[in-house]
Symmetry: C2
Subunit: 157 residues, 2 copies
DNA sequence: GCTTGCCTTCGAGCGCGCTCGAATCTTTAG
DNA sequence: CTAAAGATTCGAGCGCGCTCGAAGGCAAGC
């Protein structure tokens, strides 16, 4: 929570992102919100929900990251649980976790509570990576804003 | 400056990164520091300075992003100016600017001041991208810390 | 019944950004 | 003088994470 409010201060009152359609990954803080959506969702809707392509969702499934149920016709049906996992996966991917690490992590999840120590380690590493990226991005932001200032900052040329 | 102090608060007093050898990209805020270094540098030293490989520096040159002078033997000699550009390039790359956009930008720089409007636009876009990434990373960080908390947070398994 | 459109599987292909190997030249140490 | 370390150019190769195309099944509207 502390982190959120701080970074919120950084990014608030700025070029409002205008998050239009279903961008769960960039908006949701409370996963329980997902229950409100009319799950289960087909692959297209689920993809739109997390901001990925249907292709990518099938790819994730093939890689063992999600296992949505199928309806009578063999179509994928993403439950609220599946959607929450997709949000998790997408956030981890967006923050630079590799497919390999993500696969390993999910594999551990599927193997019960005695894998928690290793999962914990993975999340510690992930946190360190994210913080490093935050540092790098902060420097890049400063550099960028320096340039904008130097150019006089005319947004429309 | 405002941004820096805020994010500094977020990341301060944490797992100290132990920035050992020459990590200009992650540390320098004032480019003038570069003059202190004994420029010009050979490709290996320059690479170490920005945290890239010599291969990558040659690749950047081939792509037209830097043009270091050559000594009598044809070896690359990166001047302080070149090093500052390398720091800039590296920060932009680390913050997700594509090679294509970077090439375009440098091309504009090489074409004088009347290209400033377009350069300005590129930097505005870049800033928006960085801020989006910061938002995504922040959510990912929260998710990660949530997991760590859930796992009881034992760092050593 | 037919068309439209979204769903399925499969394997191949691709764009990005390096990364490497080979052959050769230069500099430095002993 | 010799050997080792590090520089050069060139083009090929690679790992990641998708991304796409082909061939076909299923559902709904006219």
């Amino acid at each position: 929570m502390s982190t959120e409010t701080l970074v919120e201060r950084i990014l608030a009152a700025d070029d409002a992102p205008a998050l239009s359609a279903a961008d769960a990954v960039h908006g949701l803080l409370d996963d329980s919100v997902i229950d409100d959506v009319a799950a289960p969702l087909g692959v297209a809707k689920a993809a739109e929900f997390v901001g990925l392509s249907p292709h990518t969702l099938r790819y994730y499934e093939q890689q063992g990251l999600v296992r949505p149920a199928r309806n009578a016709s063999g179509y994928r049906a993403y439950s609220a649980l599946d959607l929450r996992r997709l949000v998790f996966l997408t956030r981890m991917r967006l923050s630079g976790m590799t497919m390999q690490d993500l696969k390993r992590y999910i594999e551990l999840v599927d193997h019960g509570d005695n894998t928690i120590p290793e999962r914990s380690r993975i999340m510690f590493d992930q946190r360190a990576r994210i913080k490093k990226q935050l540092r790098e991005l902060t420097l890049a932001l400063e550099t960028t804003e320096y340039k904008i200032r130097a150019y006089g900052g005319h947004p429309d040329g």
